[in-house]
């Protein structure tokens, strides 16, 4: 019988913080500028230039630390990590080794049986991003863009508490949502504003010591993480089953080929010669400062879920879906403020909006219409000014062009027919055309009226007020 193995995973997650300026100079962090447009002597490593800490970065890092239940280090320092690479203009990266800003936190992830599991956070530290190196094969040269050099990052290091790829993904989702709620990063794996390295080892079930681990880099999506974990776990188990050893090394995941290959082993691991950066003084994080940051902490998802149920009377399911994305929750709240029909707003967002977003592979952050217009559409439907079928058609236009529904309905002449004279005329035609149904109704088959109303709606292209039509029909039959 083959042995049972347990997978042990720890994650190192890099998150790019969305401060307006870089961590050690005043240059903009804006994305998409011309190469080297957002640079200065500091972030290009000019002789004599000196770093000055952007306090906002500390605040953002502390905010994440508080949300992850971390201890906040009161006197933080920065250290230099020395290594040569052209994307690193000083040939050292300013990071934190000895006094990271946060330590000993924890984050709960949901388990399959509906329970919770706590994942411990080892530390969170701040550091600067590097520039971008481009190899121009045709010209046989390499060029560097330092726009990203000095963009602030935090690295969130978990303890090896995860046991599967699914848990790793749950943890990342939880982390991402928390950070998005804090508004300190957009956390996009594909665009690199969130990057995860996976440390993985396997051990025989029941063993208390850890196996030899590998570190996996270049994981650009949740799917890639799941695949990479599965692949690496199997690779290690196979090695052990064959009586071989796992080598401690850094591996690079190739998502196209669905496998990984070694980048460097422990033997040629670099000595980074870390030491305290003498250009930066230690920064004290006072009790008052922490309180100030605490005061600004937003309402997190679990709190929102509760509030949506009590304040708006939404079912738990709705509350969970809406809060599953910060942008969606924000949109929901803005719309409710304008039309005060929470359940209707929820229905429109969870139904039609999500359907169209999925169809077009868009994120809730990209919802192309305004809360104001959705609120108007809901009001128009509720007042009976338009029917539900028509409302859905109008919504499609709203999604495509963000039109004002009220004006659109007027311009297109789509307003419900409330005019009894006009309706009477149509009723007469329908009654004449379907005498059989009229007969059925009169003989006690009350359901037949539904068919007749349907015909009235058809004749008016859905513009008839169905309630009014029904009343008028009944009146006519009584006569």
């Amino acid at each position: 019988m083959s042995k049972q193995y347990e997978t042990v995973i720890g994650l190192e997650v890099h998150v790019e913080l969305s401060t307006k300026t870089k961590i050690f100079c005043g240059c903009s962090t804006a994305f998409g500028a011309k190469p080297n447009a957002n640079t200065c002597p500091v972030c290009t490593g000019m002789p004599g230039a000196l770093p000055v800490l952007n306090k906002k970065v500390v605040e953002y890092a502390v905010a994440v630390g508080l949300a992850a239940d971390c201890e906040i280090t009161r006197d933080i320092r920065f250290d230099r990590k020395n290594y040569f690479y052209p994307d690193n203009p000083q040939n050292y990266q300013i990071s934190q080794l000895y006094f990271p800003v946060c330590r000993n936190g924890k984050i709960a992830i949901p388990t399959k049986d509906g329970g919770e599991k706590w994942i411990r956070i080892h530390e969170i530290h701040m550091e600067e991003d590097a520039g971008k190196l481009k190899h121009e094969e045709k010209e046989n040269r390499s060029v560097i863009d330092f726009n990203r050099s000095g963009v602030p990052l935090i690295e969130i290091v978990s303890e090896p508490d995860l046991r599967s790829g699914e848990e790793a993904v749950e943890y990342l989702n939880k982390l991402r949502l928390m950070i998005q709620y804090l508004g300190v990063s957009d956390c996009k794996l594909q665009e690199g504003s969130m990057r995860a390295d996976v440390n993985l080892s396997v051990r025989e079930a029941g063993s208390v010591s850890y196996g030899v681990r590998t570190e996996m880099k270049n994981l650009n999506s949740m799917k890639a993480i799941l695949r990479a974990v599965e692949h690496e776990k199997n690779r290690q188990i196979q090695l052990l089953a064959e009586g071989k050893n796992v080598i401690q090394e850094t591996r690079r995941w190739d998502d196209g080929r669905g496998c990984s290959y070694p980048m460097r082993s422990k033997e040629d691991a670099k000595d980074y010669r870390y030491f305290p950066d003498p250009d930066l003084v230690s920064v004290h994080i006072s009790e008052e400062w922490i309180l100030e940051i605490k005061k600004r902490q937003p309402e997190f998802r679990s709190e929102k879920i509760k509030r949506y149920q009590t304040e708006f009377g939404l079912p738990r399911y709705d509350a969970e879906v809406l809060t599953g994305d910060k942008a969606l929750a924000d949109f929901f709240e803005k719309t409710v403020q304008l039309c005060s029909r929470p359940k209707k707003v929820s229905n429109w967002l969870m139904g039609e909006t999500m359907r169209l977003l999925n169809e077009k592979a868009m994120e809730p952050n990209d919802i192309p219409f305004s809360p104001k217009h959705l609120a108007k559409l809901i009001e128009l439907t509720e007042s009976g000014a338009i029917g539900t079928t028509l409302a859905k058609e109008v919504f499609e236009v709203l999604f495509a062009q963000n039109i004002d529904p009220e004006r659109y309905i007027e311009e297109q002449g789509l307003k419900t027919v409330e005019d009894t004279q006009e309706l009477n005329h149509i009723i007469e035609q329908v009654v004449k055309k379907y005498p059989k149904s009229v007969e059925d109704y009169k003989n006690g088959r009350k359901k037949a009226i539904g068919f007749l109303i349907g015909q009235i709606m058809k004749a008016t292209q859905g513009r008839a007020n169905p309630t009014l039509a029904k009343e008028m029909l009944e009146k006519r039959f009584v006569q």
Partner: protein
């Protein structure tokens, strides 16, 4: 008459009053430079066209009443490790032979705002690593008092240029004595202020935790006046300090009544030249005559200062100089295959022997397995020395010692024995390890006519007591008719 023979304040006064023009001053400086540079080599770069253009600008501003600084229009020079926009800044290295900065160092900018006229950039030991100025890629600076001797280092060009009347004053930098040692060898006055007093922004870093910019001048008054201009809190430098007592010229008082001056007896060891020893004792007598209480005392831990200093300085230098890699600016080797060969060849060819020695030492003390034994131990030693000085300054106002154990050594005699050269910093490095203010001032010449230098060390932020002591000593010397800087070369 060469106007450069005047002190900076004397010349500044004449310029303000209209007695002489800025252009006349610049022309005199250029004349002196042209006459002496070939022999002395104080400058790496002289920019006559720039200086003359500046002279006109500054003259206009003085005329309009926009510039009232006492030093407006006075020609000066800047050590070549302070960035000057548009003017090459080499750090005495082949690595930066053609490097032109895109910005000006804060200290230089402060002087330019006060109307200083920059003549050029002065010679120095490569990246400020050396005690003789002989590690300069561009060749050493000769001592204006005797050209067979070195000017000292690393700010040798600045000190020799002032001594030789090629400029009125200059800026230097001091990491382990780099202003005070050449200052003593050249018979000029120089101040290393309390760490954090002058912005390091634009000073090409050697050892960031100890580097300070300071003035080199013909007398104490000029030094105080220049220091007053360049000192300021600068938010571009995180180690810059918002501090009190920056009115240094108010301390130019010829009186040390009741001040407690300490002389560390450990400085009188067997290595010390007897004439230098006597000069310290003479200075002590003069201070006593002016009412000071002078007492010898035991200063512990001094044997550890030089090793601790070199470990910390080299560790920081190894990291600070990593940016010179041939990628972005500076020297790049001509032929190479691949990135690593380009790094290796560029750095092997671009740096000199002394720089390489210190970079290797720095890499070593920070390496895994050695960090605790060397670097951390050095930091702990530094903390012990700081405590020792704290104790001492609870008893004394100012410390008096030699600036160097001898006068300027002969040229070409120092570089073969680096350890001995490192020992020449023994009196000066403590002020850098502790961040305390210190200065050198001349105390006559020895029997061979070479200047002897004294050192004063003050308590943190107490430059004024130190300046007052120096001024009193200087006035006493003047009354005795002793010359304190070179009048002719």
């Amino acid at each position: 008459m060469n106007l450069m023979k005047l002190s900076a304040l004397e010349l500044g006064k004449k310029i303000q009053s209209g007695e002489v023009s800025v252009m006349e001053a610049v022309c005199d400086a250029m004349e002196a430079i042209n006459a002496k540079e070939e022999a002395l080599h104080c400058f790496i770069t002289v920019d006559e066209a720039y200086a003359k253009k500046r002279a006109e600008q500054v003259q206009n501003s003085i005329k309009n009443g926009e510039l009232k600084s006492l030093l407006a229009g006075v020609p000066m020079a800047v050590k070549d490790n302070l960035c000057t926009k548009g003017m090459r800044t080499t750090c005495g290295s082949k690595m930066l032979e053609h490097f032109i900065p895109s910005y000006t160092a804060e200290a230089v900018q402060k002087l330019e705002q006060a109307g200083a006229v920059l003549l050029g950039k002065t010679n120095m030991d490569e990246f400020a690593m050396g005690s003789t100025s002989e590690t300069s890629y561009f060749g050493g600076t000769k001592n204006p008092w005797n050209q067979n001797h070195v000017a000292g280092g690393s700010s040798g060009g600045s000190c020799a240029a002032v001594a030789a009347n090629e400029c009125c004053y200059a800026l230097g930098s001091d990491t382990g004595g780099s202003i005070r040692l050449p200052g003593a060898f050249c018979g000029v006055t120089g101040i290393k202020p309390t760490y954090g007093t002058v912005s390091r922004y634009g000073l090409v870093a050697y050892a960031s935790s100890m580097d300070q910019v300071g003035p080199v001048a013909k007398d104490v008054s000029d030094c105080a006046a220049v220091l007053e201009i360049i000192s300021s809190f600068d938010k571009k430098d995180s180690t810059s300090i918002q501090r009190p007592a920056l009115d240094f010229t108010s301390a130019l008082i010829d009186n040390v009544e009741g001040m407690k001056i300490g002389i560390p007896i450990s400085c009188f060891d067997s290595e010390l030249d007897s004439e230098v020893h006597n000069a310290v004792l003479t200075a002590a007598e003069r201070l006593k005559e002016r009412g000071a209480i002078v007492r010898e005392f035991d200063l512990g831990l001094m044997d550890y200062a030089v090793p601790a200093y070199y470990m910390i300085a080299c560790a920081e230098a190894g990291s600070n100089l990593a940016r010179f890699d041939g990628v972005k600016y500076g020297y790049r080797t001509e032929a190479y295959e691949g990135l690593h060969q380009m790094y290796k060849k560029s750095r092997s060819e671009g740096f000199g022997t002394e720089v390489k020695r210190r970079l290797l030492l720095g890499a070593f003390v920070l390496s895994e397995g050695y960090y605790e034994d060397y670097y951390l131990k050095a930091l702990r030693t530094k903390a012990c020395i700081q405590n020792e000085f704290k104790r001492v300054f609870s008893q004394f106002d100012v410390l008096l010692s030699p600036a160097s154990f001898s006068v300027a050594p002969k040229a070409d005699s120092s570089l073969d024995n680096p350890l001995k050269m490192y020992q020449s910093d023994q009196y000066t490095v403590s002020a850098n390890l502790t961040g305390l203010p210190a200065m050198c001032l001349p105390a006559g010449t020895n029997q061979n006519g070479l200047p002897i230098g004294l050192q004063l060390i003050g308590n943190r932020f107490e430059e004024k007591k130190m300046i007052r002591t120096a001024y009193t000593l200087e006035q006493a010397m003047r009354r005795k008719g002793e010359k304190n800087h070179v009048k002719t070369v």
